[in-house]
Symmetry: C2
DNA sequence: AGTGCGTATGATATAACGTATCAACCCCAT
DNA sequence: ATGGGGTTGATACGTTATATCATACGCACT
C-alpha cells in the first residue's frame, strides 16, 4: 500500500473489474452470483466506502430488489464469506474488497475524520495476534485488525 | 500469557484486586468511582467474560441501580475510557481489563465454542497495523485486534 | 415425468445494540 | 451564595441484526 491509497481516484474501473473478478471466481467455485448479490457488490464498489446494511438495503429497495433486512444481510453474508467484501467490526459496516486477487488477511485503516477506509494485507501469523495465539495455544480462524485514526489528508488539520 | 489463560481458576481475588486497583487509580487521577461504575466493573470482573450492555443492565436493574440503557452505557464508557474495561468489537460486548497494571494495547482471543475471551498485551506499533499505518501515512489512535477461533480446550473437540 | 434435495428468496416479527435530549441534582471552588 | 462541571434520571428514538416459517427454483436421480 502507498500513500495513494487514501487519495481520490477514478474508480469506474474498480467497479467493472471488481464485478468481473467476482463473477469469474464464482464460476470457478460453483457459487451463484445472483442478481442481488452482484448488485450489492456493485453498490459497495461504486460507493467505495464502508456502508451500513440498511444503507445498502435502501438502494436495493429503490431498485425493487428487496426491501427487508434479510435481503441485504444474506447478500452481505455471501460476499463476506467468499472474500468479495469485508465487514468492518468497528463500524458495523461493510466494504468491497480491494484485493480480490490475493489471499486474505486484511488490515483496515479507518479515518475518523473523513470516514475513508483503506484495506491493506498482512499475514496475521507474523504479527501480535499470531504471537499471542501461539502462546495461548489458540487456533485463529479469523483475525480482526482495524486501526482508527487520521488519514494523511486529515491528520494535518487536526 | 500462558496456556493457563484459558483455564478455569478461582477469581474471587480478581474481583477484589480489580476493584481495589481501579479505585486507587481513580483516586490518583481524580476520577469519580461512583457506585454504578464500581458495580458494573464488579459485574464484569465476577462474570469474567464478555457481556452485552443489556445483560449488565439487567443486573443493575435487579439491584435497583438503574434500569435504562444509558445507565449501563455511561458506566461502560467511563470504564473503557479509563482502561478498566474493554469493548470487544467483534461481539458488541464488554469485558473487564485483566491487565490493569500495564500500558494498554490489548489483543483479544475469542473462543467461538466456549465464548471465553482472553486478553493479551502487545505493542501495536510493532505489528502489521503499525507497518500498514506507517506505509500509508496514517495516524493510529486506536487499534482493534481480535482473533476469533478455538481455545486450547475446545480445539481438540473440533 | 415424478421425487427429493440443496440453495436461494420472500415476508413478518422481534431481538439486540446504541444514542439524543432535557431536566434535576450535587459537589465544590470562586 | 452562586455558578459551573460532572453525574444521574427518565423518556424516546434510532440503528443493527437475527429467528422463523413459507415459498420457489434448479438439478440430479430414478
Amino acid at each position: 500500500m502507498t500513500n495513494q491509497a487514501f487519495e481520490a481516484h477514478d474508480h469506474r474501473s474498480c467497479i467493472a473489474e471488481g464485478v468481473a473478478s467476482a463473477a469469474q471466481i464464482c464460476t470457478e467455485r460453483n457459487l451463484q452470483f445472483t442478481k442481488t448479490r452482484q448488485r450489492v457488490l456493485e453498490i459497495l464498489l461504486s460507493e467505495h466506502r464502508a456502508m451500513g446494511a440498511y444503507e445498502i438495503l435502501e438502494q436495493l429497495r429503490a431498485e425493487g430488489l428487496g426491501s427487508q433486512p434479510p435481503v441485504a444481510y444474506r447478500a452481505l453474508e455471501f460476499l463476506t464469506k467468499n472474500g468479495f467484501a469485508h465487514r468492518i467490526e468497528r463500524l458495523n459496516a461493510f466494504i468491497a474488497c480491494s484485493h480480490l486477487d490475493n489471499a486474505h488477511a486484511p488490515v483496515f485503516l479507518i479515518c475518523r475524520s473523513c470516514d475513508r477506509v483503506v484495506e491493506a494485507e498482512a499475514d496475521p501469523a507474523q504479527g501480535e495476534i499470531g504471537r499471542a495465539a501461539r502462546q495461548a495455544g489458540f487456533v485463529v480462524e479469523r483475525a480482526v485488525r482495524e486501526a482508527e485514526g487520521l488519514c494523511p489528508a486529515c491528520a494535518p488539520a487536526a
